[in-house]
C-alpha cells in the first residue's frame, strides 16, 4: 500500500499518476454523499469517504479494511485536514478525528508514506 497525503490542491494526484503510471480510469474519487467503490487501484479524497462514514455511523478504518479487496495493493490519497481551527460543527469535528485515526492506520500498514507540498514530495516513511 502507498499513502500520499498533503494539503488541498498541492499536486498529490499528479504525483500518483506520474509515479505509478496511473490513468484517470484507475482512480476512484470519493464523495462525501455516497458509498465508495474500492475496486480501482487508486482511491483519492479518502477524507471524503471518512466524512461519509461519520454521517452513517461507521469507523472509516474498520469499514475500509472490511470492504476493500486487495487493500494492500492500493494507492490511497488523502487531503491533510488535521490543521486549522477545531470545527464548530459536531460532525466536522468527528470527521477530522476519524480521518486522523484512518490515516494513522493506513500509514502503519503502508509500505511508503509520501507528503506533497507545492508539487514536491517528502518521504515520511
Amino acid at each position: 500500500m502507498e499513502l500520499i497525503i498533503g494539503g488541498a490542491f498541492q499536486g498529490k494526484t499528479a504525483f500518483a499518476k506520474e509515479n505509478f503510471n496511473l490513468t484517470d480510469d484507475e482512480i476512484f474519487i470519493c464523495d462525501k454523499d455516497s458509498a465508495p467503490d474500492f475496486s480501482k487501484k487508486c482511491i483519492t479524497h479518502i477524507e471524503r469517504f471518512s466524512f461519509w462514514c461519520v454521517e452513517h455511523g461507521f469507523e472509516p478504518a474498520e469499514y475500509l479494511f472490511e470492504h476493500a479487496e486487495n487493500i494492500f495493493d492500493k494507492i490511497i490519497i488523502s487531503d491533510d485536514i488535521s490543521c486549522g481551527v477545531v470545527p464548530i460543527n459536531k460532525t466536522e469535528r468527528a470527521w477530522r478525528e476519524a480521518n486522523g485515526r484512518l490515516l494513522i492506520k493506513l500509514s502503519k500498514e503502508s509500505e511508503h508514506v509520501t507528503r506533497i507540498f507545492c508539487g514536491l514530495s517528502q518521504r515520511l516513511k
Partner: protein
C-alpha cells in the same frame, strides 16, 4: 537565487526570509516588496509593526500591490527582493472586480508576472502561506482562492532553487538545502 518559503502563521517564515535576503544582498540593493494594500486601521498597524521589525536591516521598500509586470522598468537588476506575500498579491488581483466578481485568470497572471520578475532581479525570496490543511468546507469564493494560491505556489516552487516549509520555527527543506 530564487527561494520559496511557506508554512502556517507565526512559524518563523518572515524572519528566515529576511535573513536569507540580507545574506544574499549586495549593500544598498536590498528590497522589501510589500504586496498588501492596507485598507483599515488594523492593516496600517500591521504595516507599522512590520516596518519596525525590519528597521536597521537596510531594506528599501517597494509597494506593489498588483500588476507586477507594470513595474518591470523599476526592477533593480542587482536587487535582492523579499516578496511579502504571494498570498496578499493574489488576493488583490483575484478580488479586485466591481460587484464582488472573482477574477479566475488571476492565479495564472500572478504566477507568470512573479516568475518574469524573478528572472530580472538578482534574487527573490517569496513568502506564501499554507492555507491548505484544515477541516472545513468553504464557499466557492474561498475555495477558488485556495486553489489559485496553490497554483501560484506550485509554479513558483517548481522554478525556485530553494523550497522550504516552516513548522514551529523549524525548517523543512524540499530542495536546495545545500545552497545557502
Amino acid at each position: 537565487m530564487k527561494i520559496f518559503i511557506s508554512g502556517g502563521a507565526k512559524n518563523g517564515k518572515s524572519m528566515f526570509a529576511q535573513e536569507c535576503a540580507k545574506k544574499l544582498s549586495i549593500e544598498e540593493h536590498l528590497w522589501y516588496l510589500a504586496t498588501m494594500e492596507p485598507r483599515d486601521d488594523e492593516d496600517f498597524a500591521r504595516v507599522a509593526r512590520h516596518r519596525n521589525e525590519r528597521a536597521g536591516w537596510g531594506f528599501k521598500t517597494a509597494e506593489w500591490g498588483r500588476n507586477i509586470a507594470l513595474h518591470s522598468e523599476e526592477i533593480d537588476c542587482k536587487g535582492t527582493y523579499l516578496v511579502d506575500s504571494v498570498t496578499a498579491l493574489l488576493s488583490n488581483e483575484m478580488f479586485c472586480g466591481m460587484g464582488g466578481d472573482i477574477n479566475k485568470s488571476a492565479p495564472e497572471k500572478v504566477a507568470k508576472e512573479l516568475l518574469d520578475f524573478s528572472d530580472k532581479a538578482k534574487d527573490v525570496v517569496f513568502v506564501s502561506d499554507n492555507l491548505f490543511c484544515d477541516a472545513a468546507f468553504y464557499d466557492e469564493w474561498t475555495d477558488s482562492y485556495r486553489e489559485g494560491l496553490a497554483f501560484v505556489d506550485r509554479a513558483l516552487a517548481e522554478k525556485c532553487d530553494i523550497v522550504a516549509e516552516f513548522s514551529c520555527g523549524q525548517i523543512i527543506y524540499y530542495k536546495g538545502e545545500d545552497l545557502l
